[in-house]
């Protein structure tokens, strides 16, 4: 199987290049991550992040034949040869397929991704009705792999000021949580032309999400709520 892999080692290379490599042995059901591990045995200098191997940890996001995805849940058989592997777009490359996700996590931190309570804390659970709990479906499943935000042109242009689809999905996850009590503050934080409104509904985010989530609809719901509260 033929591969074209983005290579860049800042210590030895003046600029990045695409390396053509071949993997002789493949087996049925092989995932791209398995192939990359086999290629790393051929050339130990190849660098990429990975961990759980089953689409849960979100470490191995990369650009596979032009589309962001997780290598561990991408079957080799579905990919057209030569398989072109590049780092997640728009992020500074540290080495080969390893990118700096600093801005991405800064934006995640900025939406305060935790429950904020104003009532005095009690020693009992804060219960939710099943209907209210259902509102969190399609939101809590995000594994923060960064495939969506790094596929978003608005995030490429303004990674420090636009929150990006992943952080905005989490913002809505807490806005819609009936146990959270900081709705007004959260909405105030999102206003202005950058944090939320750089989203131009390009919808690359929902196209690439390996968990099948839709940041676009979450963003739409935030705008709706904002409008409801403003009028």
């Amino acid at each position: 199987m033929r591969f074209k892999i983005y290579r860049y080692n800042p210590d030895t290379d003046t600029e990045p290049y695409m390396q053509e490599v071949e993997l002789k042995e493949t087996h049925p059901g092989m995932m791209l991550r398995d192939a990359l591990l086999a290629l790393k045995e051929q050339d130990p200098s190849l660098s990429f992040r990975h961990s759980c191997g089953e689409g849960v940890c979100g470490s191995d996001g990369m650009n596979i034949n032009g589309k962001n995805g997780l290598s561990c849940i991408t079957p080799l058989a579905e990919l057209k040869e030569p398989i072109e592997i590049r780092p997640l777009p728009g992020r500074p490359v540290i080495r080969d397929l390893v990118v700096d996700m600093g801005d991405f996590f800064d934006q995640y931190r900025a939406v305060k991704p935790y429950q904020i309570r104003k009532d005095p804390q009690k020693d009992v659970e804060i219960l939710q009705s099943p209907i209210d709990r259902d509102k969190l479906d399609g939101l809590y499943e995000c594994i923060l792999c960064g495939c969506c935000s790094t596929a978003c042109p608005s995030f490429w242009w303004n990674p420090k000021r636009f929150l990006g689809p992943a952080a905005l999905l989490q913002s809505w996850r807490f806005l819609t949580d009936t146990r959270d009590q900081a709705e007004q503050e959260r909405l105030d934080d999102l206003d202005g032309p950058y944090k939320l409104f750089r989203c131009h509904t390009i919808m690359n985010c929902l196209d690439v999400c390996p968990k099948g989530l839709s940041p676009t609809s979450a963003i739409g719901k935030i705008k709706e709520l904002m409008l409801k509260k403003a009028i």
Partner: protein, 113 residues
Amino acid sequence: MSRRASGLKAWLVQHITAVYMLLCTMIGAIFLIAQQPISYTVWKGWMAQPLFSLNLLLLFIALLLHAWVGVRNVLIDYIKPISLRIFLLSLLAFGLAGNGLWVIEIVIRAQIS
């Protein structure tokens, strides 16, 4: 436009003006097809009716606001040096304002003559 307001407000303006322009364009297109052939005198007759000229004026206000938000979005996305962005935004504002005044002039002159 305050820093706080320019997010939601701009987005709302863009959407409301889009709906208004879509409706006006559709109704206008049907009207133009139905009223063929159109001459300068026919057009002047329409312009003399307040319902027509006011709608035309509103349509252009909507168009200019929509263009302002849209082009402002493009400039915010792509133009990073702040002085160049301010220059281009000013150019846009003057251009749009000029166009707006021109439309007002046309409507007024059509009313007078």
